[in-house]
Amino acid sequence: MKDKESVVFRVASDKPFLIGMGILGGSYLLIIVSMVMADLFFLNYIDQSVLGNEMIRQGRHVESGVVVPTEKGRRYFFRAGKNETGLRQVDGSLLGTGLFTADSDEVAIVSSEEGKPVTASLRPEVRLKNFAITNNVATLTTDEPHGLLWGEYIRVSSSDVVGWDGVREITETTADQLSFKLDEGADLAGTLRLSKPNPLVQALRSRDIRFSIKLSLISCTLTTLFSLWIAVPIGYVMSRFQFRGKAVIDTILDIPIVLPPLVVGLSLLILFRYMPDWLSDAVVYKWPAVVLAQFMVACAFAVRTMRVTFDQIPQRFEQVALTLGCNRNKAFWRVIMPQAKGGLLAAGTLAWARALGEFGPILVFAGATRQKTEVLPTSAFLELQAGRTEGMLAVSLIMIAAAVVVFIVARTLGMKRIFA
């Protein structure tokens, strides 16, 4: 029989525990990073060809493939759908998604399975038929409908004349005509190439989106300043003083956080029905409504952050300052606020980021009027509604960039404070 005393006690390994935590935490991190990366990868950064109408008749695949007549020597853009394996040219080569030059009068779309509906797309590259210049405005005629809209941007390149090159705003369109302004003294060009600039350039060029970038930056900054202005005193009072009804106030302060954002917007809209006309005329569906809608939500987050910040600064500091000759006011500004800088920065960043992403309340309370109450989330929404996923993505990237810049600035300032 074994001696009981000699049995060594063994504790189970911590590996499963640590690995489990690593996997759970790691997968979340992975999703965050890949989410942003996906946006960056999806966007097409290269200029796109101007394409004409769809050439494939929709229907079901037959054995021989779907034959589409083409024009020899012309360039086409083919995108294989989920039911096609590619495009066969007469010489037998099989092409995948991309631009190609037709080498005969027809191509065949090769189906992956017979009887399935066609999902591929084939569109000709638009060619210029002729152009004219009147009063420095060029009017181009294309041989196929170009599908470009008024207000969109087009990149014009010309190898032999000046005054044409560059990204130009389309000022007038019909199905196969488009006009844009040229530089002073532009001459008739020999060869011209048109292409669609990438969505990011389109977005940054667009007057509407430029306006919304500007309005977003200004309104978010105003919202942040107002939020901190309000959050510091509320946070301080809630952290330092005990009084009757504190629990009720605490609950009220959380209402904007728990309320669905749309409801916040609607409630503001209804509240302003009871306001004097001059006030509601000045606010509702105007830019002040944007700031107010952002502020209502962002401030609640700033208040929470400031309260936690002040909670973490012991009262002792104020007490010592009081004995040294401060009144409460001086103790607050000389002793407490310098210590709350980090929290203030965090609250400001949080408020800014919340305000930047605010959409629902703005839509309800300020509307989505271009060049008036359009902020970046509104732009993204309008792009999506117009069916321009790429445009929406471009606006999203602008928002990501703005948020990243603000976070980096905040972090750098925070670091300075810590390492100074």
């Binding site: 007490q319 010592v320 300052a321 009081l322 004995t323 040294l324 000759g325 009144n327 001086k330 800088k341």
Partner: protein, 213 residues
């Protein structure tokens, strides 16, 4: 002089009643008592950081019962020292003087004086997180002494120090008391500390103060 006359402090279930204490000017008083018996509360009341329900607090020849802490002329060193984390040693020593709008030259003269008294010359430009326990304690002491208070309230000032520093600080406190003539009220748990420092010896037991001569 510190004189507490018939002090009553009620807070929640905790109560101190009929507290009497008298410590004459320039004396070193040590107040002992068990944890939670109300020593710190009493000290805070003297500093004006806690409301009293009844009684009078007289510091020097002034009745300060209803004065704000700033006007009582006390120096306060709390148990955790509470050095302002964002200020250098120099700024902390000058804190009370700046509030009194003294001239620049006078402030720096006083700061140097304090630095010499407490041996802080080398540390003037450091931030509190770069100070050792003993150094931090000396800075807290210097900050409390800067405005030349008539009364110095120390809440367990030596409890976090090791044996050697402990002895050094005892010497320093005696020295400060002797040099500046400030009346000191010192809270401690340690009988040896009390024995070493006390000119007057008080015990707070069951809400009453006993004076050992």
């Amino acid at each position: 002089m510190i004189r507490l006359a018939d002090i009553t402090i009620k807070q929640g279930g905790f109560e101190l009643t009929g507290i009497e204490l008298e410590l004459s000017s320039g004396k070193y008083g040590v107040l002992m008592g068990r944890s939670g018996c109300g020593k710190t509360t009493l000290l805070e009341a003297i500093c004006g950081l806690r409301k009293i329900d009844q009684g009078k607090i007289i510091l020097g020849d002034r009745d300060v019962t209803n004065l704000p802490p700033a006007e009582r002329g006390v120096g306060y060193v709390p148990q955790d020292r509470a050095l302002f984390p964002t200020q250098s040693v120099r700024e902390q020593l000058a804190f009370a003087l700046v509030l009194r709008s003294l001239g620049q030259s006078e402030i720096s003269r006083r700061v140097e004086e304090l630095a010499e008294l407490l041996g802080l010359d080398e540390l003037l430009d450091r931030l509190p997180d770069k100070l050792s326990g003993g150094e931090a304690q000396r800075v807290a002491l210097g900050r409390a002494l800067a405005h030349k208070p008539s009364v110095l309230c120390l809440d367990e000032p030596l409890s976090a120090l090791d044996e050697e520093l402990h002895d050094e600080m005892c010497q320093l406190l005696e020295h400060v008391n002797g040099q500046t003539g400030v009346t000191v009220l010192h809270i401690t748990h340690s009988p040896s500390e009390a024995k070493r420092l006390a000119g007057c010896h008080y015990h707070l037991v069951d809400g009453k103060i006993h004076h050992d001569v």
